[in-house]
Symmetry: C2
Subunit: 146 residues, 2 copies
Amino acid sequence: MIEFNKNNAQLEKHLCFSIYELSRSIQRMYKPFLNELNLTYPQYLVLVALYDHDNIPVSELGELLDLNYGTLSPLLTRMESQKLIERMRSTKDTRIVYIKLMLSGKKIREEAFTLPQQLVLKSGLNDQEWNELSKLSMKLFTNLSK
Amino acid sequence: MIEFNKNNAQLEKHLCFSIYELSRSIQRMYKPFLNELNLTYPQYLVLVALYDHDNIPVSELGELLDLNYGTLSPLLTRMESQKLIERMRSTKDTRIVYIKLMLSGKKIREEAFTLPQQLVLKSGLNDQEWNELSKLSMKLFTNLSK
DNA sequence: TAATATTAAATCGCACACGATTTAATAAAA
DNA sequence: TTTTATTAAATCGTGTGCGATTTAATATTA
């Protein structure tokens, strides 16, 4: 049984902290490469998402990335001014704004194809460990979303 | 062998994204409870760290939390104004500022003892899975820090 | 010892991240 | 059909998170 009390209350034993720290350290690892592409980490994720699901409403992009309008709207504004993406208002329902990858956005996304590979190399994890970590983190996320 | 190409480039297959999404979903789960205590997530982590390592310099707190001065300084200023912590400048070396838990900070930290337990319950992971996730995330973090 | 380098902490600028509010448009109901 | 409710997106306010700069104090060195 997993126990929590004064004796093991330390930061290091908090899974929440391990994950929080890990997430930031991955972004730190990605940073030099993304800087070369003039991208922030969430901007990179937007490109990844759009590369597979282009021309989708902001709402759908937000669901894919698990980000709300408050985060996404200004982020997309910045990416629009960099000519990475395009906003196109639907004619059917003018409330809806579709987001489309522009050519330069597509190219830059392709330049980043090696990034996950770099993480694998630095990870020091074998295939089994990598897959296990991936599986468990998705499982935990799914259960927390219920 | 783990492969990355156009065919599995989706967001869902990016470990970096799983971890990023998981980290934010844990914070989302903690939020209602922390709101009751008038704490943000990093403020909670500061209390956890200080509860075990009280009266330490800002630099040491930053190492424990893996946060730099740019994040920590204003965060501590806010916690100081809430009377959760105290800043005390060293007399030996007046560049150094020691951070001390105040009584109310200690009490609030203790009120949060049940929080990790709540995560365990919601996680839907068994002991083996929990420990495995914990182990692998720490291993990956360690390897990325090299 | 005077000049220089290093260090601890704070500050600044910018980009998230998110809850809450606002705006405009469509849908549903009276 | 007019009123009311809902929805999509943007905006706003606050708190991180981080790289770069600044400030003040201590350490090092010429």
